[in-house]
């Protein structure tokens, strides 16, 4: 039986990917930021998950203004890296797990989630930067990936509560998959950042820290945070944090914090990262 063993959350700042691709991770600007992922890289190599349900948002790469799915689940065999304007990132193709992805898609639709099934899409930095952070620069990614793209660009995104509920539905679906698989779920994006206007560069460390604390101390409280609070407190792009709630909703109430990292800045963004053991 497949089981979700852990949840991982991390920012997915494109500059982090560029720093890895260009071999700059030991430069003074980046060293502390990347140091916080070393624990996780060791832990991931021990854990060796078979499949990762990777919750991220497409940043106007696979989806333009013509098709805006709230929840899109990738059921393909393979995904290429998107060309976001400076050529595709030099990373391996992402190999899907079509059996489990279709299983989750079907279960979630029966569970009254209005999924969009995707069989062909390019994946952008939102998905590939977390892979690079956890796995470095391997010839091929060490796990199969199920991309779950959430609209957080065009308003309204799904509510935090809806994200949490989807996480619960994904957990039920994984638990009903007959094959014995070690599955992780990752939530990506955030933490506080704003990429526009006179308020650009906003960072709210106290709010981010409270968010990280509440992932274990009071996760239910996170479900009720309205969009306006993300926007006011964590900046216009901080809304990405609703995606962490899909990850958290998929874990049990007793999930335990194994590792945490918080660093300012990476480009315009507060980098946040946490590893939760399911329980």
């Amino acid at each position: 039986m497949a089981r979700i063993t852990a949840g991982v959350a991390t920012s997915h700042v494109p500059a982090l990917g560029a720093a890895i691709d260009l071999g700059k991770t030991r430069e003074p600007y980046w060293a502390d930021c990347f140091a916080g992922y070393e624990w996780t890289r060791r832990w991931e190599s021990e854990q060796a998950p078979d499949v990762i349900v990777l919750v991220y948002n497409d940043h106007a790469s696979a989806f333009d203004m013509n098709v805006i799915p709230t929840f899109a689940i990738g059921c393909a065999e393979r995904y290429v890296s998107a060309d976001e304007g400076w050529g595709p990132r030099p990373v391996p193709d992402v190999i899907g797990h079509a059996d489990l992805a279709w299983h989750i898609a079907q279960c979630c639709i029966l569970d009254e989630f209005d999924m969009t099934i995707i069989n062909d899409m390019a994946v952008d930095h939102g998905l590939t930067v977390p892979l690079s952070l956890m796995f470095g620069q391997p010839a091929q990614w060490p796990a199969r990936i199920i991309p779950l793209a959430v609209n957080v660009v065009t308003y309204p995104p799904p509510s935090g509560n809806r994200c949490w509920l989807l996480g619960e539905a994904i957990a039920r679906a994984v638990a009903s998959f007959p094959e014995d698989l070690n599955v992780q779920i990752w939530g990506t994006g955030g933490m506080s950042h704003q990429l526009q206007g006179s308020r650009a560069g906003l960072i709210n460390k106290p709010w981010d820290t409270a968010f990280l604390d509440r992932l274990t101390a009071d996760p239910e409280a996170l479900r009720g945070i309205p969009h306006i609070e993300y926007l006011r407190e964590a900046g216009s792009e901080g809304i990405e944090l609703v995606m962490w709630l899909i990850m958290r909703g998929a874990l049990g109430p007793g999930a335990r914090e194994l590792h945490r990292h918080y660093h300012v800045p990476a480009s315009n963004t507060a980098v946040g990262h946490i590893v939760l053991e399911n329980g």
Binding site: N161, G197, A200, G201
Partner: protein, 136 residues
């Protein structure tokens, strides 16, 4: 259900955030062609055509003159006022060989060095930046 049910009240709150334009339906509709133009820059062939003659390439898109001028000027605040979204604009940043840090900094009125220094010092404080109405 914790989501607000009244869409007008939900949207109205967004106007209370200093220096922030939320990508609502109204903006998405206004910026449709501008944003679709940006998407076209995901192809190297289009980036080359755009670089060779920006004006001519922009004229292939049914944008307003003001939208085209904002893009020619790389006036990203103006572009966002006219319906752009930053993730679409990013295709233009990258076509120009600029990072998010460089391009976003231009929207603050700060110099690139000052903006970079502010970020290294911990970023912009949210104090006074949360609500126009409440001044907090």
């Amino acid at each position: 259900m914790t989501a607000p049910r009244d869409i007008q009240a939900y949207l109205a709150e967004f106007d209370d955030i200093p220096g922030t334009r939320v990508f609502t339906a109204a903006r998405a509709r206004q910026g449709y062609w501008l944003n679709q133009f940006c998407m076209s820059l995901m192809k190297d062939e289009n980036r080359r055509r755009f670089r060779a003659d920006e004006r001519a390439y922009l004229d292939e898109w049914p944008m307003t003159e003001a939208q085209k001028q904002a893009l020619l000027d790389r006036d990203y605040n103006r572009a966002i006022d006219l319906g752009a979204n930053v993730y679409f604009l990013a295709k233009l940043f990258f076509t120009d060989g600029k990072s998010f840090l460089q391009a976003v900094g231009t929207m603050t009125g700060m110099t690139a060095d000052d903006y970079q220094a502010m970020m290294i010092a911990g970023g912009r404080s949210p104090e006074g930046q949360r609500s126009i109405r409440e001044g907090r």
